[in-house]
């Protein structure tokens, strides 16, 4: 299916999992060499052409858009940040941590103190040279009570950040975290010059933003001094905000844009048949859960939760809602492409009899269970609710569908109503995914599931540097969520984009669509 799967396969066969390879390399301080080698596997054997005007039809534009990377949530925002800026670490197409503005890094033995060596000779668009002070300032924007950063949650584990000379930065954590480099790939954490204006778009990236019309377009010209070899090929890049999928499709078909983000699953098959258009499908960590609040009756009863989990026909939902553009889930949030995916864990299947058994144990008397839904949660959320209602009724469960307004869904429904549909984007590591949504004190613990024993193993696993031991711990964590947690996760959704065939080197990423939002600097045009 997607290219990601085949690389996974390749690497597994080699008996060496990427993550440990990457970490080994990082510990030896040779991250650059390995990092450069791995994406090489994925790169097409063609010589990139320079020049051309790349136009991307992208979602999420709003008049409130800003160039500040701190509050970033939507695609256009994230993608524009990667146009003008870089992180310390790049999330590789194969899931590895590739050195970006940090040339290499070394953790202490307990993974509590990390040293990042900053690349020399990199300049910002205004000509100032990047140094350790800029890095410390940029990272500190994401810390503290008043930070408006979307990454402030992850950064709570950071105790101190300080410069070590002009080209190294020391990051100290409250407990060990072997995945810290992955954390620094987060799209909020773009490096900017110290004491600069965060909305200026002055970064070290491949494109200088020359025109910015919030909610309409972001236009950049190639940064001729770009430090990164073999990247940023097009002469100009323009992100065009097109929220309507039909309009994006028409614009791609008529050649007004070269790439369109997010193909509607309903039309993907038709689009694939149009000559000159290529569909890019990336499997990843994005998933669509049905969230049950474990602190609210009747969902505080584990048997009722299990009954509902057994009452979902996952294949049917993936077929009908995702039109096959995804994978079935096993009620935990770690995707099968993740190195720490619990492959030994049995896949849960549709079993109305088992559901009935647990219903009886839960003392369920046939009362209606209201399920809040809206297509604000994801495209097809209402259909999912209806399908699930049918599946569940075969087990004698009475699901009552509550259609909520799209407006305000995230304020008034998500984390408020006891049973609702939601979505999660992919996270670069299993630890991050489990930490942001399942740890007892996580800000986004949207199932309100609290297990101190889970938290304890999670923190230990984070600091564990032995991969085999870590695998065992993560399997244990996934099992706990699957059998006790409040999330019914029927499916992982693929990211589906399309482009004209002139677009080359569209490197799929398991994390997001549009080459992990880095399409502007990765693709080139074969005009």
């Amino acid at each position: 299916m997607s290219r990601i799967d085949s690389y996974d396969h390749l690497l597994r066969q080699g008996g060496l999992d990427r993550r440990s390879l990457g970490k080994l390399a990082a510990m030896l301080g040779a991250g650059a060499a390995i990092g450069a080698m791995l994406p090489g596997l994925a790169r097409a054997q063609e010589t990139p052409k320079k020049g051309g005007d790349l136009m991307i039809g992208i979602t999420g534009g709003a008049t409130t858009d800003t160039l500040s990377p701190l509050p970033s949530t939507a695609s256009i925002h994230t993608c524009s940040s990667f146009m003008w800026g870089n992180c310390l670490v790049e999330y590789g197409t194969d899931g590895s941590a590739v050195p970006e503005l940090a040339e290499s890094w070394e953790p202490s033995a307990d993974a509590k103190t990390w040293k990042f060596n900053i690349r020399k000779g990199v300049t910002f668009h205004d000509g100032k040279e990047l140094d350790a002070e800029d890095v410390v300032w940029s990272l500190n924007l994401h810390r503290g009570e008043n930070s408006e950063s979307g990454a402030s949650g992850y950064m709570k584990q950071v105790v101190d950040i300080k410069a070590d000379g002009k080209h190294a930065v020391i990051i100290e954590l409250d407990s060990g975290n072997a995945d810290l480099p992955y954390l620094l790939t987060d799209y909020h954490m773009i490096m900017m010059p110290k004491d600069g204006d965060v909305t200026s778009g002055n970064g070290t990236g491949g494109y200088k933003i020359t025109e910015f019309d919030p909610g309409v377009r972001v236009f950049g010209e190639r940064n001729e001094n770009y430090w990164k070899e073999g990247r940023a090929h097009a002469a100009t890049v323009e992100l065009v905000a097109i929220s309507d999928p039909a309009a994006r499709t028409a614009a791609l078909q008529t050649g007004q844009i070269n790439i369109m983000e997010r193909v509607d699953p309903k039309t993907v098959e038709l689009m694939g048949r149009v000559p000159g258009i290529v569909i890019h499908q990336a499997a990843g960590g994005g998933h669509y859960p049905l969230l049950m609040r474990c602190d609210t009756a009747p969902f505080d009863n584990v048997d009722l939760r299990l009954a509902l989990k057994h009452a979902a026909n996952r294949e049917d939902i993936v077929d009908k809602v995702l039109r096959g553009l995804g994978k079935i889930g096993n009620d935990h949030p770690v995707p099968s492409g993740d190195p720490f995916f619990a492959s030994s864990l049995e896949q849960r299947t549709y079993d109305p009899d088992k559901a009935k058994f647990h219903l009886k144990k839960a003392g369920y008397g046939g009362e209606a269970l209201p399920l809040s839904t809206s297509d604000a949660a994801f495209a097809g959320a209402v259909d999912t609710a209806v399908l699930f209602q049918q599946h569940a009724s075969a087990a004698g469960i009475n699901i009552e569908i509550v259609r909520e307004p799209s407006d305000g869904y995230w304020n008034d429904v998500w984390m408020k109503k006891p049973f609702c549909l939601s979505y999660w984007g992919g996270r670069p590591t299993a630890d991050l995914m489990l930490s942001v949504a399942y740890k007892s004190d996580a800000a986004w613990n949207d199932t309100f599931w609290r297990r101190p024993d889970f938290d304890k193993i999670l923190i230990e696993a984070r600091a564990e540097l032995d991969t085999a031991k870590r695998q065992e711990m993560y399997t244990q964590l996934q099992t706990m969520i699957r059998d006790d947690g409040g999330a019914l996760i029927p499916m992982f959704n693929d990211f589906v984009d399309a482009s004209t065939e002139q677009v080359k080197n569209f490197e799929l990423s398991p994390q997001y669509g549009l080459c992990g939002m880095r399409a502007p600097e990765r693709v080139w045009l074969d005009a």
Partner: protein, 318 residues
Amino acid sequence: MPDLVRLIGKRLLLGLLTLFAVSVLVFAGTELLPGDLAEVILGQSATPEAVAAIRAKLHLGDPAIVRYWRWFSGVLTGDLGNSLASGRPISTVLAPRLGATLFLASVAAVIAVPLAITLGLLSALWRDRTFDKSASAATLAAISMPEFFIGYLLVYIFAVQLGWFPAISRISPSAGFGDRLWAIALPALTLTMVTTGHMMRMTRAAIVQVLAAPYVEMSELKGTPRKAIIFRHALPNAIGPIANVVVLNLAFLVVGVILVEVVFVYPGMGQLMVDAVAKRDIPLIQACAIVFAITYVGLNMLADIVSILANPRLRHPR
């Protein structure tokens, strides 16, 4: 004459009162929106601390009446304030959007209004003949379809299949007048199609109604040619209702084009207002609503004044 001035003055005053009432309603309406700005700006990534930080920065804790007065007194002095969400002055956000919408609306109006009135006149002239029936059927078909459907249909035929016009209407800042016209060809055509039918049928009905009046019959009996009857007697008497339906459609071209803007990705007022609502950017919502209200109330006022001027009987209410 002083009567006329007083009448128009009264109408203007009524318009201003309406606008004031609208401003209060708009403010009350925005208060009722679910969720608050701080949470919406942050979306799914809202942590309690981040929400509190933004709320404090934006003075969201002040009572509603204080915030209303702060805003309304600003509007009176021409200061629309800053967008809460982006921090930019609202006038700079609004101006290009309003310009874009007015440009599209004017082009559509310049085509649609003469076309509709001519078609309406001809239909009335040739009532129940083939021309009348086919014009009626065609325009009825056009107004029966939702405008986004017409938009997609035109995109499919003229952009995807024939390749004559662009599928999305993007206007770069440096584009000349010709390029601009070319870029908005399809949305303008869509709007022409959805508004012409309404205006044409109203024109036809108004004239047909006047033609049934006793004085027209008298004039017919006296042997006045049919064309002269229509242009000298019927049309002036039908101006009131025609003006009304024309301004109603002009107002629609400004305030009701959101679907067309979405289909053609045209950065106009409708899109701006939807964005503002989604982000709970209250001052921006209010500014958009006031602009829409001024357009609507102003155009209706214009129609009333035209009716007063065209129909002497209205100047002497009994």
